[in-house]
């Protein structure tokens, strides 16, 4: 495709700008970046069109060249285009430099291995130092603006890679001293200096660069990639933008430059400040922010260098400059600003915040500055808005709010007034023009305006915002809250349509206002006749303010209102109030009302709904009812509110599947008999109530197991072991399936599957009743003989650990020992319910590493289990 015409490009750029994402997703999207680069060299397009193309690459490089190779190629192409420009004046050189810089910096390409970076940086430095950079860089007339642009580009690169220019501080300084353009060089030097000082303690860089006037010729040029290459670490928010005095000291305290470096640094800063008056106010402000940040961390460096500038700056009428002075004040506090300076600043801010020649956003910003003023000796907690100490009532007089003000100004000034009232609390009352009285008047005015029938919503919103502000600042002053509550009640009486605002206010304010306001509003609503035009709003209000214990006045209001709830929406609102009362447990009156509603409401959905509530009220205990109705009502479906309601009940009333709330394990067995009992250890992972554990065994190996009940369990609290009686039908190990049924603290009933519990062969052992003393050998021999011929006999070699036979027996078989001749011979008798037995004769041999075991049982099926068990003993040892 050949180059596009100007019109075609205009159309294409327009389509792109309207929605870049949509354009890039379209068919034309992929080629845009490539076409743009090639058409920059087309001879058919005018320079103006090419500038528009470059403007696009300045704004959307990430969309045009989305990956690193594409960005690198684009930057190379832009640099090539610049070299190819004929040596006459051209409007393209500046935007080409800016575009190449933007593409490199935003595409993540900038680095020592990027070819484009290694071409751009020396070019920028050459231009910035006013050197001859060769052909293609235009006539001499263009040198000066290009020099400034190159400085801007370097500054942007330094912003994106802090520390990059740390090596050319001295060069920049010497340029500034000679003939270079003051503003761009000043800003560049200040930024590089700031970054070096901020980066230095972290990476061991030094101010050495400041001492060298020329460019060092080491390696690949003066760029300090080591600092810049630590990626984004220097860009991490090192500290708040606002350089607070103490914070800065600890963040940068490690910096201790040599005396020579300090001297050079002071000279450089002084040089920058001395010529700063030549800069635009914007640039001066930037310089001050940068230098303020640079110097605040230097130990022992007094900020006195700024002092000569303050004489000029304290009187500034420039917004950004005044802001920068406030930043210096925050950074250096008393070290730079006397109490008189502070008073002067406050007076200037106070006047500027109301000066008729200044625009409204400026007034508002200055008011904000007043309430966040960085005082030398702040009293209140940090970060909270407060009236500065030196801002006396006299100074504030001009900043009092009035109904004539724009809403934002009014709120801002009202906040100040509230703060003054809060301070004034302790002081003498009834003085001339006391602010409390004025505040009352103002609120009354706001309420009157909000009460205007058909007035715009913004007036109502303003009134409620003001009320909120007053309530939150003056919550501890009942003197203020009483008239506020009265006024709001009157407002509701005049305009019930504002009910959503009232509900919102009640949701947000603290109990100091909420409680009393709720009570009076409820009285206000229920005193209305039920057929009020604003019934819908009254019901909405009542759903918020109704007492849970269903006062009779509320119920009779609802009863009267029911007759006028002609449409579905109103009925739903009415039922919402009932729901609120239900949650509190209702009462006899409520049951009557619900029955009436279930018969009387016109809409079948409403009737069903009322019936459901009645049934719930009649069948559920109070706390369960509260839980069932707890979560807020889901948005009612258009056809039936009951369906939506059911969704929320389902959660509360149906048993829900849940992850296991407890951990269960088989504890150490205490084989005492006569019955087999499994001891279980339980550990709660979350609080559970009314826990029921149900067990089941596959294949009917045991008789059905009883459920185990626990009243409650809490995490972290020790729990008693649980005892589970086992009635084996055969002496065989098994897996127990376990399920838990329980109630959560929120009252929901849940059901969980627990991991299966293993019942091992040894868990089924019981001892024989002990025969009288002396009769044991005979008893054992009797048992031994009884096993055959029906049973089975076997001989097993049981390996022994280092501790020998005695230890093995005492650890595993102690309860079952019938005849013992320690440490060499043991006769052991084990009962295996229901009617099996296992008899062992252990006789220590000469060899130390094992013991021969003779075993007999009356149940041949036990034999393999016993063999496994005995072999397993030595493993577990």
């Amino acid at each position: 495709m050949g180059p596009l015409s100007r019109e075609a490009w205009a159309q294409r750029l327009g389509a792109f700008r309207a929605s870049p994402s949509a354009f890039m997703a379209g068919a034309d999207g992929e080629d845009l970046g490539r076409d743009l680069l090639s058409d920059l060299r087309s001879e058919k397009l005018s320079e103006q069109t090419k500038v528009s193309l470059l403007a696009l690459s300045l704004e959307y490089p990430a969309q045009l060249w989305p990956d690193v190779p594409a960005a690198e190629a684009a930057a190379t192409s832009l640099l090539d285009t610049m070299v190819l420009l004929p040596p006459r004046p051209s409007a393209l050189r500046r935007p080409l430099l800016l575009a190449a810089t933007t593409v490199l910096a935003s595409g993540g390409v900038l680095g020592p291995t990027s070819g484009a970076s290694c071409r751009l940086l020396p070019l920028l430095l050459g231009l910035a130092s006013g050197r001859d950079v060769g052909r293609g860089f235009g006539p001499i007339s263009e040198q000066r603006p290009l020099q400034a642009t190159a400085c801007e580009c370097l500054r942007e690169l330094e912003s994106c890679k802090p520390g990059l220019l740390g090596g050319i501080l001295g060069l920049l300084r010497s340029l500034l001293g000679q003939k270079g353009p003051i503003q761009p060089l000043s800003l560049l030097l200040a930024l590089a200096l700031r970054n070096t000082l901020v980066v230095q303690p972290r990476s061991g860089a030094s101010l050495q660069g400041l001492l060298m006037a020329g460019v060092s010729s080491t390696g690949s040029g003066p760029w300090d990639w080591t600092l810049a290459e630590e990626g984004h670490s220097h860009l991490q928010p090192q500290a708040p933008c606002w350089p607070a005095a103490e914070e800065g000291a600890c963040a940068l305290a490690v910096l201790e430059p040599s005396p020579e470096e300090v001297r050079e640094l002071r000279a450089a800063v002084a040089q920058l400040l001395d010529t700063s008056y030549l800069l635009t106010p914007m640039a001066q402000a930037q310089l001050l922010w940068l230098l303020g940040w640079a110097l605040r961390g230097l130990r022992g460096q007094t900020p006195a260098l700024f002092k000569p500038q303050l004489v000029r700056l304290l009187g500034t009428a420039q917004l950004t400059l005044l802001h920068a002075v406030l930043a210096l004040k925050a950074a250096f506090g008393e070290a730079l600003f006397t109490a008189q300076d502070e008073a002067l600043l406050l007076r200037r801010l106070t006047l500027a915040a109301q000066h008729p020649a200044l625009p409204l956003p400026t007034h508002l910003f200055y008011l904000h500055c007043l309430l966040s003023f960085p005082e030398n000796c702040p009293l209140g907690p940090e970060g909270e808005e407060a009236a500065p100490l030196l801002l006396g009532p006299q100074l504030c007089r001009g900043l009092m709010p009035s109904l004539l003000h724009d809403p934002m100004v009014l709120l801002s000034r009202l906040h100040l007034l509230c703060l003054l009232c809060a301070e004034d609390e302790e002081e003498e009352k009834g003085q001339v023009q006391n602010p409390q009285w004025y505040l009352e008047e103002l609120l009354a005015g706001l309420q009157q305006r909000a009460a205007l029938d058909g007035g715009p919503r913004v007036l109502a919103t303003l009134c409620f915002q003001a009320s909120y502000l007053v309530a939150s600042c003056l919550a501890r002053q009942p003197m203020m809250l009483t008239p506020l509550i009265q006024g709001l009640t009157q407002l509701y009486r005049a305009r019930p349509v504002l009910a959503p605002h009232f509900v919102d206010l009640l949701d947000r304010v603290g109990p100091e206002l909420e409680e009393p306001l709720r009570v009076v509003l409820q009285q206000e609503v229920v005193s209305r006749p039920g057929r009020d035009e604003a019934l819908c709003w009254h019901l909405q209000m009542l759903a918020k303010v109704a007492e849970r214990d269903a006062q009779s006045a509320t119920l009779s209001f609802l009863q009267a209102a029911a007759a006028h709830c002609a449409n579905w929406g109103l009925q739903q609102t009415l039922l919402r109030v009932c729901r609120v009362l239900l949650r509190g447990g209702g009462g006899p009156g409520l049951a009557d009302l619900l029955q009436v509603l279930a018969r009387q409401l016109e809409d079948p959905d409403g009737r069903d709904h009322a019936r459901l509530y009645y049934i719930l009220l009649a069948h559920l205990a109070g706390p369960k009812l509260g839980v069932a109705l707890g979560p807020s009502l889901a948005a009612p479906a258009l056809t039936s509110s009951l369906v939506a309601e059911n969704q929320s009940f389902a959660a509360a009333l149906i048993v829900q599947e849940a992850p296991a709330p407890i951990r269960l394990s088989v504890g150490p067995q205490r084989a005492t008999g006569p019955l087999l009992v499994l001891q279980l250890q339980v550990e709660a992972l979350e609080p559970v109530y009314s826990l029921e554990l149900r067990f089941r065994v596959e294949g009917q190996l045991y008789a059905p197991l009883e459920a185990v009940h626990v009243p409650c369990l809490f995490p972290g609290r020790p729990a008693h072991p649980l005892f589970l009686p086992l009635q084996p039908r055969r002496p065989a190990p098994a897996q127990l399936e376990v399920r838990a049924l329980y109630t959560t603290p929120t009252g929901i009933t849940c059901h969980a599957h627990l991991p299966p519990l293993p019942v091992n062969f040894a868990d089924l052992f019981l001892p024989f009743p002990r025969p009288p003393e002396g009769a044991q050998p005979g008893f054992f021999e009797g048992l031994w003989d009884s096993c055959l011929p029906k049973g089975a006999e076997s001989r097993v070699w049981c390996p022994l650990g280092p501790q020998g036979l005695e230890a093995l027996v005492s650890r595993h078989l102690e309860p079952f020992v019938m005849v013992a001749q320690p440490p060499t011979s043991y006769h052991i008798a084990i009962r295996l319910p229901p009617n099996s037995m296992l008899l062992l004769r252990l006789q220590s041999a000469q060899v130390d590493d094992g013991v021969p075991v003779a075993l007999r049982t009356n149940d041949w099926a036990v034999l393999p289990l016993a063999g496994d068990y005995l072999r397993g003993l030595s493993v577990t040892e």
């Binding site: 700008r17 603006p145 007035g455």
Partner: protein, 414 residues
Amino acid sequence: MAQRAVWLIRHEPGTPLCGTVRFSRRYPTVENRAKVFNGASYVPIPEDGPFLKALFFELRLLDDDKDFVECRDSCTHINKTSIYGLSVGNEELWPVVAFLKNGMVYATVPLVEQTLSPRPSLISISGISQGLELLFGIQDFLYSSQKNDTELNTKLSQLPNLLLQACPFGTLLDANLQNSVDNNNFASVSQPQKQPAWKAGTYKGKPQVSISITEKVKSMQYDKQDIADTWQVVGAVTCKVPVPPILGFYQMKEEEVQLKIKVNLKLHESVKNNFEFCEAHIPFYNRGPITQLEYKVSFGQLEVFREKSLLIWIIGQKFPKSMEISLSGTVTFGAKSHDKQPFDQICIGDTAYVKLHFSILDYTLTGCYADQHSVQVFASGKPKISAHRKLVSSDYYIWNSKAPAPVTYGSLLP
């Protein structure tokens, strides 16, 4: 200290989107820094369409504030500055500096060089004041000597190039965009001169220093026992005014279908009786058009704006020798048509005012002046020095004493 993006959006009530983006500029290198600085709290700059919608909703410019919408109308959603948080998608874009002026919404998003949660205080963000200055600068450029839409369009088309000069990487270098216009036409400068670097072009005219003092006088006059009149002079070095320059009272009463009005004005004897202009505006809010007027003035002429329900009493350049003038009359109104006149929230019922507009040249109430012979200029060349003084009325109200009036703080009496 940089901006991430800047917009100019024309407010067009009644159209589907209520506005169109007339200009926007994004700064991708700044955006990259925002991503790193803001970390997890970073919210990207949306495309123009979604931005317009979110901003207009927040500024209440969408013609749809019929219903209570919590995220806009909640009592805790308090805006005390022109800095907003916009909900874009599920996230909140903050801080957005924005204001509406002459039907144009100006907006910019400053870079915050730290995490946004918790939100840092506005005063600690250097980009806030810079953003405001940038928007003011653009506004000044658009509306300086601009008369109509064609000129506005021409100026808008110049903006991209000007910002390339004044704000190439999102960091504002000069809020005065006119300087950049001058720079754009750089003449050949062979030998750099000792002059501010931001003025690359040389100034060809005669050097001139002009010092002007403008005082603005505000006043609220109630003619009531329990409320004190107030006045305030701003712009002066000192303030020692014994009285407002013009004292007066206004009485208005509704009698059946018509209003009876009476206005008395008196110029204080110490004030220079030589106005550039002097007018008293008598508006009648929340009423229909004026259908009938009978009146008597002791001095000056009365102009009637029937449709606007407004009377303007043109007093002219001088008060008569007695220094006192009066106006009385009766006014009748037609039926009120809702859509024509906006609803006034202050002047309801008989609450009403007369507003004075005047200006006196070569005069200040405080006596403050600059002596042009005492001005020293430390520069080469001999600039011509001129000094001016002017007194201008600002919010100068005289309230109807027969009805309640909004009270300002200074006017409360014990």
